[in-house]
């Protein structure tokens, strides 16, 4: 890479006429992760000072990472969709539905209504496979409704949000599937048998304790960051979200890009559901009720533009950590939990205002 800021050699005017504010705007435009990273660092420092000394300890950080894993995983799919200028309001309920299907098929099998067929409990491997297929199917529905019928993603996923929530409650009769039913009877430690809960297994690094699920989530960030920045498909996601008609004229199959993005997000419902099983060591339709909006919060705070085409995945990871940090930090500091949403809300407004300002570069 050569010089970071363009300079008109002939006149030097461009660089000279820039105020510090202009330079900040251009820096944020080029590196949109700067602001969420700053927020993360500053709020981390503030919580450390406010608290009783527990906040910055490795054990607390480990717990925060565990709390973030599901949110962070689902937020990857949300980032992809928002980069295409779409939105997914149903991530959470879709993930819950998928994790219920995985858990209950493994624990109890099923009885097909009307026909009366009885399906025996299935092996955890097939349970996860079924979850993946279901996730892909839900994603294909979203993508199909958006591309074939031209429905706004907001409306499509608002509808499916309710549908999945209802289906999840009906299907599970709002009952929790216990850890014993999921393959952890306290004796066998066979990985295949305990596959559904394996992501909940702890790993200790000094006094910091994380789970396999945390590692999986972080690995997914590495993989998807690479895909977004270094593959043609990744760049086409940006181009499609940036200006869909321009992308189409340039020869990109924008419909294909959109459908594949929604299907990958569907795949991530299944992976997120798996992480959720490891996190709660049970399956319940009441789990993770806030997560639908929290994924959007993580993406927006992370500097990705709701207008599409702009943003970095690592920003979303930072955004997800900020959301959890406010939760933990404020409670450790003894602040009333009601203030958490106030702080998050203000942060969202700040992030969106900043994005609007950044997008004015070159206008």
């Amino acid at each position: 890479m050569t010089s970071a800021t363009p300079v008109d050699d002939a006149t030097g005017l461009l660089s000279q006429s820039r105020t510090p504010l202009d330079q900040l705007q251009h820096a944020l435009h080029k590196y949109p992760v700067l602001s969420p990273a700053l927020v993360l660092i500053v709020s981390g420092l503030v919580f450390t000072m406010l608290g009783d000394g527990r906040f910055h300890q490795p054990s607390t950080i480990g717990i925060m990472l565990q709390q973030t894993a599901v949110l962070a995983t689902l937020a990857i799919g949300q980032t992809l969709i928002i980069l295409t200028a779409g939105i997914d309001l149903s991530v959470g309920t879709a993930m819950i539905l998928v994790h219920l299907v995985i858990a209950r098929m493994v624990a109890f099998g099923a009885t097909v209504p009307i026909a009366g067929w009885v399906i025996d409990p299935i092996h955890p491997v097939f349970g996860l496979l079924l979850g993946v297929l279901l996730g892909l199917f839900l994603g294909a529905i979203h993508g199909g409704l958006v591309t074939r019928f031209g429905l706004p993603p907001f409306i499509v996923t608002l509808g499916t949000f309710y549908v999945y929530q209802s289906l999840g409650n009906v299907y599970s009769k709002a009952q929790t599937t216990s850890k014993e039913a999921l393959g952890d009877n306290g004796e066998t430690r066979d990985v295949a048998e305990g596959l559904l809960l394996v992501l909940g297994r702890g790993i200790s690094i000094g006094t910091m304790r994380i789970t396999v699920g945390v590692l999986l989530a972080l690995a997914m960030y590495v993989v998807f960051a690479y895909i977004l920045s270094s593959t043609a498909w990744g760049r086409h996601i940006y181009a499609t979200g940036d200006d869909a008609e321009a992308a189409r004229l340039a020869g990109i199959n924008t419909r294909g890009v959109l459908i594949s993005v929604y299907m990958v997000a569907g795949l991530i419902y299944a992976i997120g559901g798996w992480v959720q099983l490891g996190r709660s060591l049970s399956a319940s339709s009441n789990a993770a009720t806030d997560i639908n909006l929290e994924t959007i919060t993580a993406v927006v705070i992370g500097g990705t533009s709701l207008f599409g085409g702009r943003g970095r995945l690592v920003g979303t990871l930072i955004g997800a950590m900020i959301v959890t940090m406010f939760d933990t930090g404020l409670s450790l500091a003894g602040v009333d939990a009601f203030y958490k949403n106030l702080a998050i809300g203000l942060l969202i407004l700040f992030a969106v205002a900043l994005d609007t300002w950044i997008r004015k570069v070159g206008k």
């Binding site: 890479m1 363009p6 050699d9 020869g251 570069v361 206008k363």
Partner: protein
Amino acid sequence: MSDASSATTPVLEARGLVKRFGRVTALGGADLELYPGEVLAVIGDNGAGKSSLIKCLSGAMEPDEGEMYLNGERVTFKGPPDAQAVGIETVYQTLAVAPALDIAENMFLGRERRVAGPLGSIFRKVDKRGMRRQAKEALDELGIGTLQDITQAVETLSGGQRQAVAVARAAAFGSKVVILDEPTAALGVKESGQVLQLIGDLRERGLPVILISHNMPHVFEVADRIHIQRLGRRATVVTPESHTMAEAVAIMTGAAAA
């Protein structure tokens, strides 16, 4: 072209193209012929159907009726990639660039090159460095020296610089036909001159060009023939030798019969 007969077969031909948008008829049976090695200008009033005509030829739009032929063979385009695949490159009036992507990414948008070896074939890694180098070469060839940083987002460029990127992309990839819809609209005198120069270069390379422009001096400077579009159809074809600018404009506006 090796023999005389093929020289008379148009490279690209359209017959009776019809395109309607609800009650608006953008094209009402439009014809067009583009011969090997020529620069064909298309002129016409606003709304005469110039952009619609070339969008059919570039695959961006599917005509309701009519046929198109490439070197005498019937072609149908379901989308821009179909036309690109047979060597037709287009600079659209709206430019069709992705503002947030950088210059190199825009030039290779939709046909990214992958790095050699398993990193490219298995991990699908695009060859950013190679594409940047080639993009820089293509722009240098165009004489766009004012672009310093090939990794600059296109939205930070001036209108003329954006146009230069779009033109360079078409020139770099076009192998049969290059179509330019008002490529000099946002350009200064010097940059316009460079684009006209480029059109001449393309003709030297034997590549036929369709140029849509409202700028009559430009048209009369570079065109071999001038297709006059009026009310969704071709009124007539003239040459810079057969007609003056005033006469061409008179036909274009309907003040004179074709």
